[in-house]
Symmetry: C2
Subunit: 523 residues, 2 copies
């Protein structure tokens, strides 16, 4: 499949009507062909109008039809072959193994949502049979979930495939029966076009309406604002910076009809090194930590940016071992010069901070990110809010607390996070029991004796967390619960069988997961 | 139990620190004893702080403990006996039968959520077992829903019991493990105190933390704004006017940490009188409509305020029969002089509208609401947005459309609604099939051959709908799905059995509803 530099609207490739832009190879520092163009207001409007027009036809498809559509997207993605892998590598600086892994993850994600559709319980079917003898009589009541409507999805910079054009937001929205208007990330327009064309081809193969998917190309905040403000758009999925997410939340809240925004924004993912674990395995934990911190040059939403422990000899062992391990990791090419520059700024802010000691800091090179490790005290961390700011890249801060009470106080001071990790041994269980209620209120996922990077695509995964790690702590962007973001319940009272949605008719209900008078059954 | 004119904070009765207010009997036009006082900023803060402090202890209770708590509240409510019924009648002007019915509904609602807790699947337990052999190995992942945190609930004016202190918002929030800080409606402070004391007593009997419930008394917007802005509050439940709901949404969105607001605001509940149904049963439908419109003097969220039909002789039959039936209904005392005045204003606006004909309009009396019926054309309705404004009370507008296309156009022009009703016969099914996709996008509940008033408390009920009928079309305030408003998912990765929440431990999971690798099971 060719990269032509076009947007995809209504199943057709169209040149954006505004200014040109090119992808940039952060490894070779060269601009890439071809030229893309930013879509204009009329093109954004057309994409949204078509998505609105496609909604009823698309949501009327059966679960099986949408499952086949998702599977077909996955197959088309694989059929792009090495051209896709190479374009991702060129546009992101990510190594081949990571890109191939991310492609497999994306295909796996599409398959997972296809499975979810085939299993069927996602739609939360409910029946409260009529009780004609009761006084007053009860009507026949049935309920199901339907899609919210067209979803605007904003692709992430750090996962050009798995959190991008055919990523988790797209997969879950399409599974829910919602058309998707996708804003490609300006850093990887070629990748986006290839994947977008795969989706368009899959839609055609599956007989889906042409408005079910659109790809908008370009740079600048104007596209996102126009997209989120368009009346046809009914929800927003976003992965990116806090400022970007907050800006979209403001647009969504100011609409005549406010809509939900699911923005995954920022997280420093605290790791608690509890005393017995540190005593038993300081060096082993340090080695695991160094791998997790530098995975993908630290450009992970779940990067372990904050380490919390009690001050003392065991923490010193950890610090030494971690610094040593990190010094052995070469600087890596970051996703873009802008990200590298921001990382450098964050590192320097910590290095120059009066209350922060530098444990490891390789010389930084332009466009690359070298690991950095810093240390401060619990008291300083509590006093200086800026020490909790995310530094996107391979940098972390060790906070040495006076005692468990201060450790808990630090935990309690944190903003909402995607994850929290406990390194612990049985001797730490009492301390962990005191921390867990705090952490449950603060984070979406709690791990023991692991590291937060590596977000499994699975039914029980939560990749979300209280504000400001996401805009909406009731949601996850990874795992099957992600579909719930794009659903709402509709109830049907006394509708004749001939007019009920097929899934709620008596003949179809038998054998489906449903709740009858509140009780789950498949009989 | 005595009414002392006090707020309830931390399990104790306290006098509000600000200005005094009294309840008013809309039937006798007399103020009622005793005097109440508006709570001050320090009292609001204390109630919220205590709710925040109680959250961890309260959510750590078992499902069975919270079920017993809800059942106990229901029993305490009944033990208030006739004193409660008489106070509600005095503060609302509602007749005894309605008040006793509403009390039964409230108790039934508490029981339903107790049942939901005992059934267990509300917490959406999930397990993806470890796959140590896989490359890379998969960790043990478990998920459950937990409460969001303390919930601010604003009681409604039109249901002094069922959408008030111990109403659906309180029942679902308490079921979810969330403490409740309740803002009593200023129109029925005595009712609120009685019911609040019943909840406080139930909390004490069940050994719940004192901060689990607070009742704030008073008038003015200051209480609500301070309450929603308090950092401990994590969600808001509200039933009332659109302006009130929008004001709370703005406060919630402007917080450093935005929080969800579930506001049930306004709805005109379109009823489609399809041609074959009108031909077969114009008079019968008119009789049913007149009963539904005047139920509770029309002060229902689901009041059928809009009738849509094709112009013609059968619609004329309906109009005549409906006008005649409504003229036979006496004016009823409205909930408050303010509501009666607003109703009169809305009725006059329609009566004086150039494009509106008056079909029935009894002389209105101060403080009472007499039924009113108006008519206009589809073209006028489409041109004049103000004709879709809610008139809270027993008034409705008949819209005569030129043809089915215009009828569909009118349906498509509507804002989000709680309900839509189809009066139909088999000959109307084709027309209904064209309307249904539109209605599914617009409303929370679709009824056939009934009327929208009378919202069953049941598993499959949706009492919600797209904005602006509610602030959040993903939710319902009646039925068991209401609990989902106050929940968020938390995932646990590789946590030792000793540290997992009890419900997710292997021994406890066996026999519970859960999803294993995505498949529902109770084995």
């Amino acid at each position: 499949m060719m990269i032509t530099g076009e947007a995809l609207i209504g199943g057709l490739a169209v040149k954006g009507s505004e200014g040109g832009l090119r992808a940039f190879n952060p490894a070779t520092l060269q601009y890439l062909e071809p030229e893309f163009h930013t879509v204009g207001p009329a093109q954004i409007e057309l994409a949204c109008d078509l998505a609105g027009a496609a909604f009823d036809a698309y949501r009327a498809t059966s679960d099986e039809q949408r499952a086949v559509f998702l599977d077909t997207i996955g197959r088309q993605l694989m059929e792009l072959g090495d051209a896709l892998v190479e374009r991702v590598m060129a546009e992101s600086g990510l190594p081949r193994a990571r890109v191939e892994g991310e492609r497999a993850r994306s295909v796996g994600q599409l398959k997972l949502f296809a499975q979810l559709l085939r299993e069927g319980s996602w739609s939360d079917l409910r029946v409260d049979p009529a009780l004609p003898e009761r006084q007053p009589p009860r009507a026949d009541l049935r309920m199901r979930m339907i899609g919210l409507g067209p979803v605007a999805v904003f692709a992430a910079s750090n996962f050009p495939l798995a959190f991008s054009v055919a990523g988790g937001d797209t997969a879950s929205a399409l599974a829910a029966g919602c058309p998707v208007v996708l804003k490609a990330h300006s850093a990887h327009p070629g990748t986006s076009e290839l994947v977008g064309r795969a989706i368009v081809k899959a839609a055609a193969l599956c007989g889906m309406p042409a408005g079910v998917f659109a790809l908008l190309t370009g740079s600048g905040n104007g596209i996102g604002q126009a997209l989120v403000a368009h009346p046809a758009i009914q929800a927003v999925g976003f992965t990116g910076s806090r400022s970007g997410g907050l800006a979209l939340m403001a647009v969504a809240a100011a609409r005549p009809q406010p809509i939900p925004v699911y923005a995954e924004m920022s997280s420093i993912n605290p790791v608690f090194l509890l005393p017995h674990a540190l005593a038993a395995r300081a060096e082993e934990i340090a080695a695991g930590f160094a791998v997790s911190l530098t995975l993908g040059v630290g450009q992970m939403c779940t990067n372990p940016g904050l380490l919390l422990a009690l001050d003392g000899a065991d923490l010193e062992r950890f610090k030494r071992a971690a610094a040593q391990a990190l010094e052995g990791v070469a600087a890596g090419t970051m996703l873009s010069p802008g990200i590298a520059e921001n990382f450098l700024g964050g590192v320097h802010k910590l290095a120059d901070h009066a209350d922060v000691a530098t444990l490891a800091l390789a010389p930084q090179q332009g466009g690359k990110g070298a690991p950095a490790l810093f240390a401060t005290s619990g008291a300083a961390f509590l006093a200086r809010r800026e020490l909790a700011d995310e530094v996107f890249g391979p940098a972390a801060l060790v906070v040495a607390c006076r005692d468990l009470a201060e450790l808990r106080q630090v935990a309690d001071s944190l903003e909402g996070q995607l994850t929290a990790t406990l390194q612990l041994e049985p001797g730490d269980y009492d301390a962990a029991r005191q921390l867990l209620p705090v952490l449950e209120r603060k984070v979406g996922r709690i791990l023991a004796n692991g590291f937060p990077t590596g977000v499994e695509v699975a039914s029980a995964m939560v990749h979300g967390g209280p504000f400001p790690s996401t805009s909406d702590g009731r949601s996850t962007s990874v795992g099957t619960t992600a579909i719930a973001r794009f659903l709402r319940p509709v109830s049907y009272q006394n509708l004749p069988q001939a007019l009920l949605p097929a899934v709620l008719r008596d003949d179809k209900l038998a054998g489906s997961w449903r709740r009858v008078d509140g009780e789950l059954t498949r009989q």
